[in-house]
Amino acid sequence: MAAAWALAPGLRTLPRDAVAETRALEAIATWAGQFTPRVSLEPPHAVLLEAEGSLRLFGGAAGLMARLRSGLEELGFDALAAAGPTARAALWLARGGTQSLEALPVEAIDAAPETLELLQRIGIRTLGELMRLPRAGVAARFGPSLLAALDRASGAAPEPRTFFMPPERFSATLELPAPASEAERVLFAARRLLAQMEGFLAARQAGVRRFTLGLLHRGRPPTLLDIGFSAPRRDVEHCLRLLRERLDRLPLVCPAEAIRLEASGLAPLVDAAPGLFGDPRSEAEGWERLTERLQARLGEARVHGLATHPEHRPERAWRATPAGGAAGAAEAPPGSRPLWLLEPPRRLEEGDFAVLAGPERIESGWWDGEDVARDYFIAARGGSLAWIFRAREGWFLHGWFA
């Protein structure tokens, strides 16, 4: 440490956080569940994937490695990745950074410091050289543990591993490197958590109907952004767009120190193969995505469908339905109804209407305490046709025949 400070006087040091390290490994393991169910942790700094059964799906070892590398980068990790015939061999190769076990420096293998010193003294630099030494001699000089490790690496001895069990619901927290008050920086960090969630969901072939991004502040309750979908989703870009709409409209009162992403309501998500000649579902899906975006920015209640409702009181003869939802059976109202309805009816203080038709008496609702007794008329003012009514309280304008 003293030497490091002497070399770089401006060096900032941070204490090592073992809990955070474990959390990071678990986050990677959760994400990696999309490639193979057989993921195991190798604390303090490795995650092992048994991927033989998944190679064809991901385009061979090279294809899988490329996916792993780019995915880990998206999660924000700088990873050394290597593939080997056994778990131990892969771990050593990742540590040593060589292509083959033959050329691997002995420092990369799990061996005690005194063993390494002894190996160096007798001129053994690579694993290949070590393997060519007589087994009996190795056992006698270095003890049985080194030989056992070599056997596990070569596959001569089995190495049973316990596989990582991902949690049932997704929850991940990310500390921000510095408190962020701009939407852009929060989104940048959120992308990492969303990528992690995508892996978690892909492993289950599931999507989420709802997720919550919490912005954690110092000394204040967290700001929660709740995003809902009409159908299960796991696409990072789509989630990110919805978050952006929400964040753009959210005044950040104080900077976020960390963000937390939580998802529940997992639902199976079937990957649809795209149709050859355009997909009729794609328009419907485009519509769903559109309503989700509109709702994310404007609020869920501001985007809705329409349905009729069997009820005499005009203001209750319709229902707002979930956007894109199916409407109830249409039912013809008894009299003429205006295309525009004023909510609430506007009291008519002055102005002259020529009554043209009516009255249509509507008396209803005694059972719920909001009973109405009204005489409705169709009336003209200028060239406009209005729907007006007379009640105990006076005259009201309730609609326009547009």
Partner: protein, 233 residues
């Protein structure tokens, strides 16, 4: 030696020359349902993939009934229609009575002008709607231009309802109509179209809840003498 003869019409057809007397052929249009209007609209209906402005001073003159036949045709063909920033609630019983399939309608209420413009652009860019009805009390040329570009990317009929003062401002919409009540009919003036100007307004008969006699609005069920003048104090 004979020179191949070609009619003037054929030559004119071969060259993309626009002639002032005719109407530009619109690529796609949805018939308005009013024969007299369709004859005067380029393409024979409301243009798809372009803005149409409807300038109207007040509510209740039949501005929605004018576009209703086209909307009914769109929802019958299972096309979605978005009602964006409407001034009042589109009333479901009346819409259903007019023949619209309600399950294809969506109401989007935008709290502000910027939200309305943003939402309109999203709807147009998503390409998931066949019709967009948009109420814009105020809009700048640049904002409308943005919408026009977004509309061109899709095939939706885009009807923008604006106040009559907007007629004084320039607009990128290729079709602009002014609507005024005219007795029981609706007078439609074509302010702008791709083609020759039309001087006289079209007088269209649109469905109204009461019938008209001699230019005055009158109830079908009551004799003329029963028209009461109602003064509301």
């Amino acid at each position: 030696m004979t020179v191949p003869t070609a009619s003037l019409e054929a030559i004119l057809h071969r060259h993309p020359v626009w002639r002032g007397a005719g109407l530009a052929p619109a690529a796609r249009a949805v018939p308005s349902g009013h024969a007299a209007l369709d004859r005067e609209l380029p393409g024979g209906g409301w243009p798809a993939g372009a803005l149409t402005e409807l300038l109207c001073a007040r509510h209740g003159v039949g501005e929605l009934q004018l576009v209703m036949p086209a909307l009914v045709a769109l929802t019958r063909a299972e096309g979605r229609i978005a009602w964006l920033a409407p001034p009042h609630l589109p009333y479901a019983p009346a819409l259903a009575a007019a023949g619209l399939r309600l399950e294809f309608l969506t109401v989007v209420r935008a709290p502000g002008r910027r939200d309305a413009l943003w939402a309109a652009e999203q709807v147009l860019r998503a390409g998931a709607c066949r019709g967009l009805l948009l109420w814009l009390p105020r809009a700048g040329y640049g904002e409308l231009r943005r919408l026009a570009v977004a509309a061109e990317a899709g095939a939706a009929v885009v009807l923008v309802f604006r106040p009559p003062q907007a007629a004084q401002e320039a607009s990128p919409a290729p079709l602009r109509l002014a609507l005024e009540p005219d007795g029981a009919q609706l007078a439609v003036r074509i302010l702008k179209r791709r083609g020759a100007q039309l001087a006289a307004p079209l007088r269209l008969t649109i469905p109204r809840p009461v019938h008209a006699v001699g230019g005055a609005l009158l109830s079908p069920s009551r004799p003329r003498s029963a028209v009461a003048r109602l003064c509301l104090a």
